[in-house]
């Protein structure tokens, strides 16, 4: 049953990956790699968070983003296009939208709170969700960019044709 859930998660992430890739006009051969990387990345996070490991969202997102980054660099030589092509569509399904909304929600309630305890409570909600959201995004973007820089030599050679 858990496997089915993982599969479903990967499938919808892959669909989202293909769709969001199309916004940025990738070369045609890139679509299938976008789907594969987006699916595997999101499934990694799903496993880390929902299996017996029960990781927090920030760590899980960072590791998933690292997986995405490494896969992007690795597969870019097959796809013959820059690894950056795959990073955004694969990351987008992991955006912590719910945390972002709760941050704004906390802020709005803060502004309209009359009593001090109430204000403190909403400030706490705003800050805790805001921190989670921003560090999650930072971790994701770092995780996906760092492999490109680590394998610098390789990342920028993939568009070369050996013939």
């Amino acid at each position: 049953m858990f496997f089915l859930e993982i599969f479903q998660d990967a499938f919808f992430a892959a669909l989202a990956g293909i769709g969001f890739a199309s916004i940025s006009n990738p070369p045609k051969q890139a679509y299938k790699y976008c789907a594969l990387i987006a699916g595997m990345g999101h499934a990694t996070r799903f496993i880390l968070m929902n299996s017996s490991l029960h990781w927090g969202i920030i760590n899980a997102s960072f590791i998933a983003a690292l997986v995405i980054g490494c896969l992007a660099v690795l597969l870019s030589s097959y796809a013959k296009c820059p690894p950056e092509t795959f990073s955004f569509p694969s990351l987008l399904p992991m955006i912590p939208g719910i945390y972002a909304y709760h941050t704004i929600e906390g802020l709005v309630f803060c502004l309209s709170a009359q009593k001090e305890e109430l204000f403190n409570h909403y400030l706490y909600l705003c800050a805790s969700n805001g921190f989670t959201c921003s560090f999650d995004i930072l971790g994701m973007v770092l995780g996906v960019t760092v492999p490109i820089f680590i394998f610098k030599k390789f990342s920028f050679r993939v568009t070369r044709y050996y013939n």
Binding site: N25, F109, F156
Partner: protein
Amino acid sequence: MRLETITQYTAQKMTFSNNTPVDVRDAYVFLAEYAAWLLGCGATCIRITKNVTRIAEAWNLKTEITIMPSSVHLSVFDNDTKQSFIYLKRKPRTGISFYKNTRLSELSWAISDAKVSFEEARERFNKIITAPYTNKWLVLVLTSLANMSFCRLFGGDPMAMLIVFVATFAGFRLKQMMLEDGFDDRVVFFVCSFFSAVIGSAGYVFHIGTTPELAVGTSVLYLVPGIPYINSLSDMLDGHYLVSFSRFMGAAMLTFCLSCGLAAGMLLMNLKIF
């Protein structure tokens, strides 16, 4: 005197593999345009620098490149005449295109491996920059499907997914039409997120499904300008702080407009989520 030196400079020719002489200045103009187009189609600074350096080395051109948020400067110092030239090229107004990014990077390798002559390179370059975008109807359908899957990933039920699909479809089509008509980006983002949020709130208004809050929240996510954010961090790691900051602020501005549109839509529909 001055004129003479410039004429002298003009007389310098480069020779390529097929032995046709090329004016060095043409090569620099090509290089500046090449860099500006890479910047325009959403390449990171490290890629622009690497590609330009690669071509310059292949053609034996001595140049320093400075990348600014909206233009590219190539400065050339000529050792014989002791004169320096600046080739400045503004960033062209073109959407993010990884197709162009890929093909332009390929071109730099082809030049570096001496597979193409200068004329051929220029021809290929013109073909790349005029290449059509992905079919807009295909993009429309794929984006709507993608945002729908998004809703599912956040835990939305089938009704919420349907609402998100419709909201994205309508909003994204509006975005395409407004961009074609040449509206300002920020206005487009505000109007489209407002439009999508209003449609996305159908779940609340008509009491459809069990997760209407996810439908509203997800309906505007297709507008998130993710590539500028990622490029911004990549430029920061590479030390191009000015470009990095400019990209970040541009994206943050759009995100702000998007949030305002969402909030306005929710106010209009009198949603009490907050």
